[in-house]
Amino acid sequence: MTLLPDLALVLLILTAAVWTVAVRDRRDAVIGFIVVGLLLSLAWVRLNAVDVALTEAAIGGGATGLLLLRACARLVPRPAESVLPHPAMRILTVLLCSAIAAGLAAIVLMPVEPPATLAPEAAASMGELGLGNPITVVLLAYRALDTLLEKVVLVLALIGVWTLTPDQFWGGAPASLRAQQSSGALTLLAQVLPPVGVVIGVYLIWNGADHPGGTFQGGTVLAAMWLLVMMADLREPPEIRLHSLRLLVILGPVVFLVAGFAGFWIANGFLSYPPAFAKPIIVIVEAALALSIAVILGMLVAGPAARAPR
């Protein structure tokens, strides 16, 4: 009985997913994917993972969706769209995929008792840091290295995207994100929303220390505001050679690194914080990271430079 809503949600998710894969037109596919993303964030709430739910909604559904939609708009349709391989191959694939799914399902259906978990350990050490949100603690203390590397991965992704700039455009600005025809409503929104959005973003980051929310969620909201402004054509995407832009991109990683290395002197080693200052340090790092994430996400969506530098 209590499972009914979950079953319904799962059914919805799977249907949307099948539709996403099966539908012919790729724009529909992208929309399908966004729907899946939003439904998934509900699923995450049901899994008691509110932070993940926020992230999924913000990045999984939102940012990725935007990215894909933009790609759709810029791709010219091709006959190759509808061509699918030989039916025999399709049947084989279906069989193999379901075999793998069956394997996973089988394992899911026989959970270990008692459930394997690190929650007790995580709880035990949390006191030292004086932060309320265990996720944030894991991300910025226990597994800070993962988080740090993954920020670097973001920077690398940006470099990777920029690699695809034609040589003559290097240093220039990405293609404008403007919609076909400017719309009063959009412009209005782009003028009204950002202040609020920024406040909310900052709130998420600040709040993240103790309650659900944090770097990514906040950063993504900031990025969304920026993208909105760019789409409403109030601002052009910045030139990728700009020093200020570069500094903003690396601000987060640098602050994180500094905090990490500082650990050698002010605490016992790399990425360790003195209990007294743990919270302020972490919040500062998070703030810097969020800023960088906002910029990186924005630039990732904007894509490689498409105009020669002025």
Binding site: M89, L92, L96, A99, I100, G103
Partner: protein, 544 residues
Amino acid sequence: MMDSGLLLVATLAFPLAMVVACLHPAFYARILTWLPLAAVPGLLAALFERGDSIVIAPAPLRLTLALDEVGAMLLGGASLLWGAAGFYASISMCGRPGAGRFAIWWLLTMTGSLGVFIVADMTSFYLVFSLASLAAYGLVSFEGTARAQRAGFVYMALALLGEALILLGFVMLVTAAPGGNPLIRDAVAMLPGSPLESPAVLLLIFGFGLKMGLVPLHVWMPLAHPVAPVPASAVLSGVIVKAGVIGLIRFLPLEVPSPDWGMALVGLGLLTAFYGVLVGLTQPHAKTILAYSTVSQMGVVAAIIGGGMTAGAPHTAALAAFYALHHLLVKGALFLGVGIAGATGRRHRVSFVLIPMALLSLSLAGLPFTSGALAKLATKPLFGDGVSALLASLSAAGSTMLMLHFLGRLQLLANDDHEGIPQRPLMLVWAVVAGASFIVPWALFANVSGYALADAIKPDALWAASWPILLGATLTLITTRFISRMPTVPEGDIIVVLDKLAPLVMRIGSGIDRTDEVLRRWPVASIGLLSLAIAFGAVLQFGR
């Protein structure tokens, strides 16, 4: 001796140093003139370093050089021929395009082929052995003609096959012996009774037999030896093949009587001996005939080793080496002689060419008072007096026929200038080698074979040496017309059969290409990925 073994090191280091020096253009330009010198340390070592040994790198690396009697004999002869041929080359190759390249291949090959006689540990042996066989490729394919390229290809293919067989054989030896890189002696001592004995011996016989040109692995020889420039042919046919001989000598447990292996080797050897003669008789070109004669002679050597193995006779190694030395010098002289003959006009032909060449040729057949007679006399005991001894003598008759055929063909080579005579230095160096081929065996005969020199000129010995020659001569007289009408067997005889397979191989190749084409399509590859994951998981779960 204070400088114990330094000459041995120099034997290898000196030619290599010359190669390195070639990085300097000035030296590279003049390399050809220095070629003869490269062999000098080897010669000195053979004279003064007998019984010395030196460890270049201590255990577990244990790179060791050692010069025993067997090694000394062959090293001496080989260095002599390398030096002489090098001198010949420095004149005959002078000013030819690519001479520098030739010199470098020459030096590398020489390092390897001298090395096989003096290294005492397995790894170093494999190193120098493969250096010799692979660098020789440069000499074989030097001329760059289509014929040379085909020869080079076949040579390379078989050489690589040989390498693989020998490597596996070595590995089997080493697994029997402890330690990373044992001395050859120790490894071979461990072999008898080890579980891998039979496969190891088989692999080694095939690997080294291939280098010696034992039937049916001889196909590369009649292609490779003739196409090279004259001095190169001389060393290829004279020295390089001895790498196989020394291989058998060093790696087969000769001291332990092992009748079955021994008889097998004898059989293979005699088969090769006669086969070489028969095919050789149909060949038109002088150098090709010599190549086939080498095949046949190496057969005899194999038979000698086999004979020794059967009985586990004590001196097998030395005797086989003695015979090999005789063939080394004579064959070298013969190949150089072909070059001389090509440069000599009709007028001086008989005096300059035919008489010495005749003596050399028949020496191969064991003409009394020649090195051949000594070699055959010394090795006779190893055959006992059964059928194999008779066959051995008959093979001498065969050689006679083959060499007479060769002399006949030699006529056709001639300088169009009637008066033409080869350059004096060439004559000189040729004379040196020819002379050595007579003198050196006489000098060594007594202490290699238990006989006194006097035994070599006893009537029965003379008769034993002569009758095969007379037989061969008469047979030639009888069959000469018949032979001249025999169809020419293409060079490398059975390789032709393999040529037939080429298109098939090509088809397989393109088939594999197409398969790869399919495998690299996205859906196929990713389906492969899924199936692999499932299969692997299943194996992990249930495959125990």
